[in-house]
């Protein structure tokens, strides 16, 4: 149970102040998500390269990454570097995570970077300077943990592990999570946390691999996932949301010539974006995709 946001800048040709926009929205939602904060931002694409962000292990563990990449920068709990996008993301992830038991590849994408940690949006900003990050669109999350641990890995957004440039944030609780998880694990899919939200990322990664149609994939969530969910999803080219068949969690939508903003509460949108525009509550079972 949480606060989730999404933001698409329509005016700045992929070079807008999206970090600042999303941070501002998250700050307004901190009350309903005091445990962790995180963002997934989509910057201008790297030429033939993936940006890889890795949660580090113990002190000095970033040195082990010299094997896989040249210019590794370490900030806070993360290492960041670029690799050739001709590699298989799944194999690369496995290789990196084998280097140290504490390593977790938190995001991979030509445009995507996920930055998340325990604590408030202010702390996230202080450690990682989110407000300076630029790009076309992004999603964000403030967490109120329900049944799983409060730590970096269990925070959101979740990257669809192995599927570049796909991230999700989720407000609600998937009630057939354990059952679905066991079926995925039988097929060899690796889970990184006990957080039910993670399965949404895995599910969508699979769906989009079978057939690249984000709206269709979101609609099939309505059939396959049980429980409560308002979910914001982002790919390299799209920002989207879906709302569960019982309308159990809020999803507010604002759309102008300048931006699309999605949030759990209207207060997050109004706090950050002044102006005269309407904000509406999404309908039950509504799924909507915007292309950038």
């Amino acid at each position: 149970m949480c606060g989730i946001v999404g933001y698409l800048d329509r005016k700045n040709d992929g070079d807008g102040c999206i970090g600042d926009a999303i941070l501002g929205m998250l700050q307004a939602l901190e009350c309903r998500g005091p445990d962790s904060a995180g963002v997934a931002l989509f910057a201008k694409p790297q030429d033939h390269r993936f940006v890889v962000r890795v949660k580090l292990g113990g002190e000095g563990s970033e040195r082990k990454l010299a094997d896989v990449a040249d210019a590794v920068t370490a900030t806070g709990s993360y290492a960041r570097f670029l690799v050739d996008d001709s590699c298989d993301p799944k194999k690369m992830t496995a290789r990196i995570e084998a280097l140290d038991p504490g390593f977790e590849v938190v995001s991979v994408g030509r445009e995507l970077e996920i930055v998340k940690q325990v604590g408030s949006p202010e702390n996230l900003e202080a450690t990682y300077g989110i407000s300076k990050m630029r790009g076309s669109h992004g999603i964000g999350h403030t967490r109120l943990s329900t049944e799983s641990r409060v730590d970096l890995s269990h925070s959101q957004p979740f990257w669809a592990h192995g599927y570049p440039d796909l991230a999700i944030v989720h407000n609600g609780h998937i009630t057939n999570y354990h059952q679905l998880r066991r079926r995925y694990e039988q097929r060899g899919v690796k889970f990184y946390t006990e957080n039910d939200s993670e399965i949404i990322a895995i599910y969508l990664g699979e769906r989009l691999t079978e057939e690249y149609n984000l709206e269709k994939a979101l609609r099939s969530m309505l059939r396959d996932l049980d429980g409560s969910f308002s979910c914001v999803v982002a790919t390299a080219a799209e920002l989207a949301f879906v709302k569960d068949p019982f309308a159990l969690k809020p999803m507010l939508v604002a759309e102008t010539d300048a931006f699309v903003a999605l949030a759990t509460e209207e207060v997050a949108i109004r706090a950050r974006f002044p102006g005269d525009y309407r904000v509406r509550e999404a309908d039950v079972k509504e799924a909507r995709v915007w292309r950038k």
Partner: protein
């Protein structure tokens, strides 16, 4: 006309100032969709929020008249004893939840569960309403001028509903019929009272609304109504 500015103040401070102003006209500026604004106003104050409000605006009031020029979040006017809460924009889930009396008027659309567990009073939407409006409604009147979403008037006790547009799906034990002459007149009078002439142009006449009430098959446990009970506990 007293003025209250929300900027830089806590909701507690804002509400204390509103209540301190007693009866009379109050304008509240920069509400910025914040929560719990105008909760438990127990005097006959007339408060206008210029902008949007968050959750529970007008919740637990008795006797106040509240207007919101923007939109409203969840639980608009929840458990109101008496008064009027009017929103020019749209309202979120559970608008008019558990109201005991008074009127909730929404000029835009209402999201899911409009009038859930309402125990009296009037809930009126000029636009459309979402999923499961009128759920377990006990008393009072629910009027939707536009279209109604799925599971409309599900599992109700004795609330009376009227819909001007299409009903996507009737809820468990909901039965539709035509309004009687006096009910049609009531609808016309109510719309005339709360909607502008401009708004009313696109709305049907009272006699063209559908009336929806409970079929009463859920009012007492009865094995014979298996199909009804399959859906409801």
């Amino acid at each position: 006309m007293a003025e209250v500015d929300c900027r830089g103040r806590t909701v507690r401070e804002i509400n204390a100032e509103i209540r301190g102003l007693g009866e009379g006209d109050i304008v509240v500026k920069n509400p910025a969709a914040r929560h719990n604004l105008g909760v438990a106003i127990l005097k006959h104050a007339r408060v206008r929020f210029e902008g949007s409000v968050g959750y529970y605006c007008g919740g637990l009031i008795d006797g106040a008249e509240i207007e919101v020029t923007g939109s409203a979040g969840w639980g608009l006017a929840e458990s109101m004893m008496n008064g009027t809460v009017e929103v020019r924009g749209s309202a979120g889930n559970g608008a008019a939840a558990a109201i005991r009396g008074g009127s909730v008027i929404i000029h835009g659309d209402a999201a899911a569960r409009l009038g859930v567990s309402m125990k009296g009073g009037l809930a009126l939407v000029a636009g459309n309403c979402g999923y499961m409006a009128g759920f377990m409604g006990q008393k009072g009147t629910l009027i939707v001028c536009g279209d109604a979403g799925e599971a409309f008037a599900d599992s109700m006790y004795a609330t009376t509903c009227f819909v001007g547009g299409r009903i996507a799906e009737l809820g468990t034990d909901a039965v539709a019929s035509k309004p009687a002459a006096d009910e049609a007149a009531f609808l016309d009078a109510t719309l005339a009272r709360y909607l502008s002439a401009e708004e009313r142009k696109s709305k049907p006449a009272g006699r063209d609304f559908q009336k929806v009430v409970a079929g009463r098959k859920l009012w007492n446990f009865d094995k014979r109504e298996w199909k009804i009970w399959q859906e409801a506990l």
